[in-house]
Amino acid sequence: MSSSLTRRSFLGLGAAAGTATLLAACGDGTVAGPGGTAGGTLKWGWSTVTSWDPVTSSAGWDVHLLSLVYAGLTKLDEKGNAVPALATGWKYDAAGTTLTFTLRPGLKFSDGTALDATAVKKSLERGRDFPKSLIAAQLANVKSVTAPDATTVVIGLAQADYQIPNLFAGKTGMIVSPAAFEADATALATKPVGAGPFTLTAYVQNAKATLTRNPDYWDAANIKLGGFEAYPLPEPATVVAALQSGQYDVAQIPGSQVEAAKAAGLPVQVIPSLVVAVLDVNIAKKPFDDPKVTEALRYAVDRAALLKTAQFGHGDVAYQPFPKGYAGYSNSLEGIYQHNPDKAKQLLAQSSYGTSPVEVVITTAKAEGVPEQLQSQLNAAGFKATIEVIPQAQATQLVYVQHSKALFVDQFAGRDSAVQAFQVLFGKEGLMNPGRQTPPELADALAKVSRTPLDDPSYPSVLQAATAVAVKSMPNVFLYSVPRILARRANVSAIPEFTAVQRFEGVTVS
């Protein structure tokens, strides 16, 4: 990736500066009328996507970039509550099995075709029925989608599920242009057609995505940026210098670089997120087919030490998939698997392996850091751990599809809906449940969560009960929360602090 200012970007900056000067002369420096013009291109060092098609995207955090080009019927606010987006509102029937959305009138996709109820119906049905869909499991409860008129979408559910508005705020609910996928669905992987705040104009895989503002976006008035450039996650050692030099305007930085960024005069935001570091444990594979070994693993891990090394203390020790303050966070689980190597040894001695060290392979895409530390911690607790490095590009196939690894060092990116998060982590078809087993009591607890309206006073306690069942019955070992740490140049306004999908409404580059 070039670190130098290219002639084109220099001219672009010059043009942007000229525009800003003109606008400032007229009053507000960064003005964007409804669907009108805007200025400034934000260069974001973050990540690229596995696919620009939300139906086949295989990484949880693709959602951040995908949300730049796609919009859903709903979106999540800063607190994680579903609020109107393409839909102005929605209503459940008394049984909770029929959900009616009302669309904004006159919506358009970036290809100019109409975004009406029929388009929404086709898009959702594709997500549910497309053979290669990776969101089909989340839409399995959607029995029917009907479009009685141009602005009304009726979702028929097999069972009551009050999570749908949250679910539709993420990848699952991103509306794709039917004209695009009916013409060439495979092209969507590199040429997305949605109705988001930006339109992808150029894309070099694993290198750069260039986007321009979509004046037809339903909330275009709040999009102050004229364009967007997304780059892969910068190298930790050089990210601060890259920000200082102007290679990026905003970048995700690791905890180790926070002090350096602050010392360089860069504003730093530590945004609580739904991301949590986790060990994917396959209970269908040795040695974790022995429940005592799985339990020993929970006590063998020193989460606080991992947090200190991996995050430089930014974040919290985690024993559950949800961060503090989230409705599903259960206080009763705090410290449940406190680091106790002696107890881990006792549990291993009670296992079928007796007192001999239990061999375990830690699979990871990068050996340095947490895997090394984990190896040391496990060895101190009666395991005999070795590290196996697999290429990141193969991790999805080996871990999520073939389920061929016993222990994988992973991160869970969180999901817009709590039930969806449970499905990914613990569901029988869940990507991060390689053992493919879900105890009946957890399925029952989840069904109860789905049946409970989100505004029902009992919802938090029902969700927390499900969290407790999951943490106690499932093998996943949660390690620590991973806040989104963003450093930015002084010419960029503060980034809105969303726990789920990062949004850029109101952000300006001067």
Binding site: P236, A237, V240, S256, Q257, E259, A260, A263, A305, K308, T309, K366, A367, E368, G369, P371, E372, Q373, Q375, S376, I387, V389
Partner: protein, 270 residues
């Protein structure tokens, strides 16, 4: 200047002294290390130099000095392994190309030309991708790419000898090829090969360090010079001086090998 005379040069003596230390560390590095190179103490992570930790600690609180000492053996053995492979695959075919006829010569030259087109690091990465991520696999790959160097040097050194009067006389007297090679050619070729081997070992040290820097060949937490350098580079903002130590170690060892090669080269440094 004879090889014996050459090693009396100050530069050669200094190089030999450095290499003697490196050799000692390669053999005994792990045992003389003051701390367990794998022992982690996150509470002591990224500390500066002190009496207890002369080169400070890394991101897991491990003693960097001990890791460098313990990593010497792996790094040096891997470099020698690749040079050994290069010698084995280069020297004998180099001589064979001179004495086994035009067909063998043509085939060997074309094969060497083909191998010379391959880039070192990329080839080693590809080989480890196919054969597994082990240092031996990587160094055999590097050794294969060293072979053309030894082939050409050996061939060039031997080429003038094939038409030497005493070699022709030996042939007229009915001496076998093997006897001619052993008694009349080998002794003349060895000094040149030795110089090349010394230089190649320096190159191999860089190759090992580069590969382990990239995480190829040796799996963390096992220490290597390149691996220590890579881990220190990740924390430049905390310890900007830290990568200098492993980098200097690599640089000094390579410089010593090059200085030695320069000194013992026939007609070399005076």
């Amino acid at each position: 200047m004879s090889t014996l005379t050459a090693v009396r040069l100050p530069s050669a003596r200094l190089a030999l002294s450095v290499l003697a230390v490196v050799t000692f560390l390669a053999v005994a590095g792990g045992t003389v290390a003051p701390h367990d190179p794998l022992l982690q103490d996150p509470d002591l992570a990224l500390r500066g130099p002190s009496l207890i930790h002369p080169f400070g600690t890394d991101y897991l609180g491990r003693d960097v000095f001990s890791r460098l000492l313990a990593g010497t053996g792996t790094t040096v053995v891997a470099a020698l392994e690749s040079v050994g492979v290069g010698l084995a695959l280069g020297v004998l075919p180099g001589l064979a190309s001179l004495w086994l006829g035009r067909t063998v010569e043509w085939v060997l030259l074309r094969a060497v030309d083909a191998v010379m087109t391959l880039p070192f690091i990329v080839f080693a990465i590809a080989v480890t991708g196919i054969l597994g991520n082990g240092l031996s696999q990587a160094m055999v790959a590097i050794g294969v790419l060293f072979a053309p160097l030894f082939f050409r040097v050996t061939r060039a050194a031997g080429l003038s000898l094939t038409r030497a009067h005493y070699v022709e006389a030996a042939e007229l007297f009915g001496a076998s090829r093997w006897r001619i090679l052993r008694t009349h050619v080998w002794g003349k070729v060895v000094p040149t090969v030795a110089v090349t081997a010394a230089q190649a070992t320096g190159g191999a040290l860089l190759a090992v360090s580069s590969l382990t820097f990239l995480g190829i060949g040796v799996q963390p937490p096992a220490p290597t010079w390149g691996g220590v350098l890579a881990s220190e580079l990740g924390f430049l903002s905390q310890q900007p001086w830290a990568p200098v130590i492993p980098a200097a170690l690599i640089m000094v060892a390579v410089a010593a090998l090059n200085a030695l090669a320069d000194a013992i080269r026939p007609g070399g440094a005076a």
